[in-house]
Symmetry: C7
Subunit: 72 residues, 7 copies
């Protein structure tokens, strides 16, 4: 039986795209996650409306997240 968080397990050290409840999007390399869907990303960038900001290493608190998809 597979579990939803297996999507994250198979994305480790790969690029992911995250959509936040605020409408912002974060892309980066997934390094680690936990059961709350807290994420550690490297080389992350956040996009909000008209602006884009390089964050580098970042911790995303899981309760802000709507969806996560593996990047291409």
């Amino acid at each position: 039986m597979q579990r939803p968080l297996d999507v994250l397990g198979s994305s480790q050290d790969k690029n992911v795209i995250i959509q936040l409840k605020s409408g912002a999007k974060i892309t980066g390399t997934l390094r680690a996650f936990d059961s709350h869907i807290n994420l550690w990303l490297d080389e992350a960038t956040i996009e909000e409306k008209d602006s884009s900001l390089k964050l580098g290493k970042v911790l995303v608190r899981g309760d802000n997240i709507v969806i996560i998809s593996p990047g291409k």
Copy 2:
């Protein structure tokens, strides 16, 4: 005695339609779910107002979900 999450069990590997609290809708093939109603979908598409975006594989965090119905 049946339980509500049995709807998801019988939809595994089938198409589902998800309505989010934000008003967005996601469709895709349900691969896995857990007790928080976190979902793993394949071949997913998200529709918001006037736009539609192909997501492919996606993890949906359960607390964003209003309803889930099996697709036709």
Copy 3:
């Protein structure tokens, strides 16, 4: 001693009307519920403002619900 969720127990396989926090209303036949008030409905319809949509089988995540009443 009765408990509030007994309202749901006595409505099984009967029509119920659900009001969501979003203001939408869902009607359908109650098949199953759990302690989070997650619901499985059959032959469900959702009404929002000016529109009505047939959903068929549906899982409603309990934290969206304001009230549930047995239909007539």
Copy 4:
């Protein structure tokens, strides 16, 4: 030592008035409650702004409730 939910215990089978976070008010006869303050009411009516709707038997999910007072 008394506890707050004793207000509900002493209101069983009596009329209560409930104010919801949405601003709506529900009145009805209290039949049962639990520790989440989920309520089962009979002969309930909901009032929102300009409209009033007879609900009959109803389950109110506790997390929507601001205050409950015994009716007169």
Copy 5:
């Protein structure tokens, strides 16, 4: 070592003023409280913007509360 809820213990059977997240204020005589800060008040009055309403006995669900102070 004192604990914050000791403020409530020392206010039992005395007048308290409660500010809710909605902006409304409730005053009344504190009869009982629990660890969720659910409150039972007697002779309570609620004030919202331009209106004031006598509630008498009331149960306030704790998650609506911002601050509680002993009345004068």
Copy 6:
């Protein structure tokens, strides 16, 4: 290893400034706190936009708090 709530431990019986999610600010002397960051303050004052109100002794429910800093 230090923990974040040690900031509160070292501020006991001293002046603190609290910023709430509503935008209001509360200042006062910290008497007690718990693991939910519920606070008991003495000689507290709340400032909202254009107004300032003396509260005296007050219990602040922790889930309303954004930040707490020791006063000067």
Copy 7:
């Protein structure tokens, strides 16, 4: 196996940038954190829209946080 909160462990006594759900940003030296992502910062500054305020030592309640990144 690494965990997301390791980002915080490796930032101890270093500069971090925090984005809050309110849109405000806080920078400061990370002294301590816990599993709720409550933070203790020293020499902290908060920026909101057009204003910047020196906070010095501060406790940030974790549920307000969107992302945390190590400063440069």
